[in-house]
């Protein structure tokens, strides 16, 4: 870790996005109180997480990247037990239905599938009705359907006003869920902002991508920070020639474009 400076607002879904080994889990585990920072300042709901106070742990919910559960206990029993740790827990039945485990509520966890266990992870993190929820790579290894279902759960948590810190290496997941994203690599923040605006003040500046097919049928792509002027120039020239700009489009770079560019640029810096 070299320096990650982020502030997550109440009620926000914040995504930490980066390749494996970027420092996402280390960052989250410092915030969760599993690891102690070597330097810098950390505040979670106004407290220093390294003190590991019970008061703070009552207000947070944690979905670990790989957290196990007792094999001989059913989801309903586990949730009842977990609920007893918290002063104002949510109802066990409500949580079971929120994550879609009603049908498996009385099956011992050793007989649950990977996806069902992951839902139980969510349920155990939610049963204490936390204000702040940490989701460390919540959908890694999911099939597309299970991923959509998990996303729906995260959205419903957001609607309940929960603050969520999410790590992921799936760009689509960050784009779908996060209000703001920080792209991290090698323990540093490369860019931060809402997914759709990341191109704006990211490494690429305020960029738009203008694409069209010229009279020879070639696909032309131009980048600009002033699409109005470029379009005026292109269209005026085309009209003067009596041509059409086929398939004309103006777009912002996707999160993927920004991500690939930033992580590649950071690798070049390393080599230089």
């Amino acid at each position: 870790m070299r320096g990650i400076d982020i502030t997550v607002a109440r009620g926000e879904v914040f995504g930490l996005l980066g390749p494996n080994g970027a420092g996402k889990t280390t960052t989250v585990e410092i915030l969760e109180g599993y690891r102690t920072r070597t330097s810098g300042e950390v505040s979670v709901l106004g407290e220093d997480p390294s003190r590991r106070s019970i008061g703070l742990r009552r207000r947070i919910g944690i979905v670990l990247q790989a957290g196990g559960i007792y094999s001989h206990v059913t989801p309903r029993e586990a949730l009842r037990h977990w609920a007893s740790f918290y002063p104002h827990p949510r109802g066990v039945e409500e949580v079971l239905s929120l994550v879609g485990l009603q049908d498996k509520a009385d099956v011992r966890s050793r007989r649950l599938s990977g996806g069902q266990l992951r839902r139980l992870d969510f349920a155990l993190a939610l049963v204490g009705d936390p204000e702040l929820i940490f989701l460390d790579e919540p959908t890694t290894g999911f099939d597309p359907e299970a991923r959509r279902a998990a996303w729906q759960t995260v959205r419903s948590l957001r609607e309940l006003g929960k603050t969520i810190l999410l790590t992921t290496h799936y760009l689509e997941e960050a784009q779908e869920l996060a209000d703001r994203v920080a792209i991290v690599k090698d323990g540093r923040v490369l860019a931060i902002g809402p997914p759709r605006e990341l191109g704006v003040d990211g490494a690429g500046g305020n960029r738009y991508r203008v694409a069209y097919r010229n009279s020879a049928g070639e696909l032309i792509e131009r980048e600009t920070d002033d699409p109005t002027a470029l379009l005026a120039e292109l269209t005026a020239a085309a009209l003067a020639r009596g041509e059409r700009l086929e398939e004309l489009s103006v777009g912002r770079p996707t999160l993927e474009d920004v991500y690939l560019e930033l992580t590649a640029a950071s690798s070049r810096d390393e080599d230089a």
């Binding site: 969760e32 109180g33 599993y34 019970i54 742990r57 009552r58 947070i60 944690i62 670990l64 990247q65 790989a66 957290g67 196990g68 559960i69 007792y70 094999s71 001989h72 206990v73 029993e77 037990h81 977990w82 007893s84 740790f85 918290y86 002063p87 011992r108 155990l124 204490g128």
Partner: protein, 249 residues
């Protein structure tokens, strides 16, 4: 508001439920010493001198198996599976968690000793324990000492797959050497010395005094001191070396 004691109770109840739902653990930690007692007791039937030695030996081994062995297994399993890490992230106080786990081990040991005492009375010609208070003192000291050593030992075991090898590498020689030194007056001096320095032989001595020979607690203080020293050693390393996270996670 959940308080520490209520949470300890809840954890204890969950541990009890899980114990009986896990047949292999229940068998190895619980039934096996009783099976050995029944088998060896039947073989030695009629030889009261041998039976008088067998019953406290099995009682001592039961204490070790329900505490040292069971806890080393469970802690490594829960650590490597990520259960301990998950528990650490909740508001469950550490004291409540370990209180529940320890109370579970105490219950298992108490049940075993009760069964052995009853079997001794009913089948093996051994009367009721001569000194109940001595029995309780030695069982409790043995539980604290061997449970702490089991938790401390879990720290040495690198992964769940090797747990059986690690645990048996300690359990079997300690049981063998302690049984030999306790049972045979012709055991070589160095075997005797090693056995006296380990916690199991003093525990068997104490249990034998309480259950069979009637040698009182005041004559067994050196045995109690050895157990206490091992207990202090075990507690120190159980707490200091405790790891909530597996190597994998």
């Amino acid at each position: 508001m959940p308080d520490g004691l209520a949470l300890t109770w809840r954890q204890y109840r969950l541990e009890r439920r899980m114990f009986w739902r896990n047949p292999s653990a229940a068998f190895f930690n619980f039934v096996l010493p009783l099976v050995i007692l029944a088998g060896a007791g039947a073989a030695l039937s009629g030889n009261q001198h041998q039976l008088n030695r067998l019953v406290p030996m099995i009682a001592g081994m039961s204490v070790m198996s329900t505490t040292f062995t069971a806890l080393a297994y469970n802690i490594v399993f829960l650590r490597e599976r990520g259960v301990l890490k998950r528990i650490r992230g909740t508001p469950l106080p550490t004291v409540s968690y370990f209180g529940g786990v320890a109370a579970n081990a105490v219950t298992n040991t108490a049940l075993q000793i009760a069964i052995i005492v009853l079997a001794g009375k009913a089948f093996f010609g051994i009367g009721w324990p001569a000194h109940w208070e001595e029995l309780i003192v030695f069982v409790l000291a043995g539980v604290v000492c061997l449970a702490a050593l089991g938790v401390a030992f879990a720290h040495v075991i690198p992964n769940f797959e090797s747990t059986a090898a690690y645990v048996n590498a300690v359990f079997l020689p300690v049981v063998a050497i302690s049984f030999y030194a306790f049972d045979s007056s012709s055991a070589p001096g160095f075997v005797r010395t090693i056995a006296e320095a380990l916690p199991l032989k003093p525990l068997i001595d104490g249990l034998s005094g309480a259950m069979v020979t009637g040698v009182g607690l005041s004559s067994q203080l050196d045995a109690l001191a050895v157990i206490a020293l091992w207990g202090a050693f075990g507690l120190y390393f159980a707490i200091r070396g405790f790891s909530w996270e597996g190597s994998r996670a």
